[in-house]
């Protein structure tokens, strides 16, 4: 089969069967891309996770673009990315067309009332997982940033873009300064 078409179909399959997005997708990519198609090796998958963490945007898009590019250049990147987006695009378009009619049903209205509490629980879980991974690093300054970004976005309604840029810069400057201090100490 044409490699670009193959990339498109493989990532369409991955896009159609990953619920919840994000890291749930990695094992599936690994299975398809490493074991079945042998496009990349296991080390590449670790790289993909590392890249996705440190670049903006959904991990699914990052991974599809990266695998597509490594496998078949620019066109491959396009095909894989379109493939991974297409299933959600079609499903959500369909849902948005019928959702309003559904919501006027009383039972559906009640169901969504209940679901909202569950969403809150899922966010709490995500919050805890992210907090744990930051806590592992044991840097006191990360708690300062955590608190700052919480207060700035939730209460002061500062645009998240500025919070992201500010915290990134703060991290960069801090790491430069602490490295300088370290090298001064050893001299």
């Amino acid at each position: 089969m044409n490699k670009n078409l193959d990339l498109f179909l493989t990532f369409m399959k991955i896009g159609a069967f990953t619920f919840g997005g994000g890291y749930a997708m990695i094992p599936l990519i690994q299975k398809e891309v490493c074991e079945n198609k042998k496009w990349l090796n296991e080390k590449d998958i670790t790289d993909i996770v590392a890249i996705s963490e440190s670049t903006p945007g959904p991990i699914a898009i990052n991974a599809a673009t990266f695998v597509g590019y490594k496998t078949s250049g620019f066109l491959g990147a396009c095909m894989a990315t379109i493939g991974v987006v297409l299933p959600s695009f079609l499903i959500i378009s369909l849902i948005s067309m019928i959702l309003t009619q559904f919501q006027s049903i009383k039972a559906v209205h009640y169901a969504f009332m209940g679901i909202r509490a569950a969403v809150l629980a899922l966010i709490l879980k995500a919050l805890w997982m992210m907090f744990k991974s930051v806590k592992k690093k044991k840097k006191p300054f990360s708690y300062v940033i955590m608190g700052l970004s919480l207060v700035l976005t939730a209460f002061l309604k500062i645009d998240a873009v500025f919070v992201i840029i500010g915290c990134g810069l703060f991290g960069l400057i801090w790491s430069l300064l602490s490295r300088k201090e370290q090298s001064n100490g050893t001299d």
Binding site: G15, F17, T18, F19, G20, G21, G22, T55, P56, G57, P58, A60, I61, N62, T65, F66, Y69, A77, V85, P87, S88, I92, S93, I95, S96, M97, A107, Y110, I115, R116, A117, A118, V119, L120, A121, L122, I123, L124, K125, A126, L127, W128, M130, S133, S142, M146, S149, L150, L152, T153, A154, D159, V161, C167, G168, L169, G171, W174, S175, L176
Partner: protein, 187 residues
């Protein structure tokens, strides 16, 4: 023009979202309020819907909002907007990956971004909690209202399940059923 506004808004969200979908909620909420796309309740409902359909939250959200505001063309434009930043950034990084991986600057920036993401998910938790528990603002009679205690109980149960690694879709289904039962029970 509405389409250009839509495109730019999602381009911005795509370019500044780190750490997965939940970190994005604060940003989407701010944009949605500014542009009048969705109400707070609709946003929370949509997060639940997105968890129950395949694909990343960011892409689902872009398609949904685009469809709501400008139909199919809007959906395409918004989805393109959210995908484009990741796509371009990954293409650039894929070329210089070894250098990028070892870059100390990237490491420094990430040490600031990761805790910022935790703070932003915390902000999302607070806004969603407000929507769930205080839909019509905080009032004195609140703690005597039955629905408040139902939501609190449901939140506790679903949070316990989420931390026990029960699949999000199962949690959402269960909460929908409890929502329906409580809704008819409380009248």
């Amino acid at each position: 023009m509405v389409l250009i506004k839509l495109f730019l808004a999602f381009l911005k969200i795509g370019a500044f979202t780190f750490g997965g979908g939940y970190a994005m909620i604060a940003m989407i909420q701010a944009e949605a309020e500014r542009q009048g796309w969705l109400t707070q309740e609709e946003l929370v409902d949509f997060v639940a819907l997105s968890e129950s359909t395949p694909g990343p939250l960011a892409v689902n959200m872009a398609t949904f909002v685009g469809m709501r505001t400008c139909g199919v063309l809007g959906a395409i434009i918004a989805t393109l907007g959210i995908v484009l930043p990741s796509f371009i950034i990954i293409l650039i990084i894929a070329k210089f990956f070894e250098k990028y991986k070892k870059s100390k600057a990237v490491g420094g920036i990430m040490s600031g971004l990761k805790p910022a993401v935790v703070g932003m998910i915390g902000a999302a938790f607070i806004t969603v909690a407000r929507t769930v528990f205080f839909p019509s603002g905080v009032s004195v009679s609140l703690f005597s209202s039955a629905s408040f205690w139902v939501f609190l109980g449901l939140f506790a149960v679903t949070a316990a399940l989420a931390f026990k690694k029960v699949h999000p879709i199962k949690i959402i289904l269960l909460s929908a059923v409890i929502g329906i039962v409580a809704g008819y029970g409380l009248g």
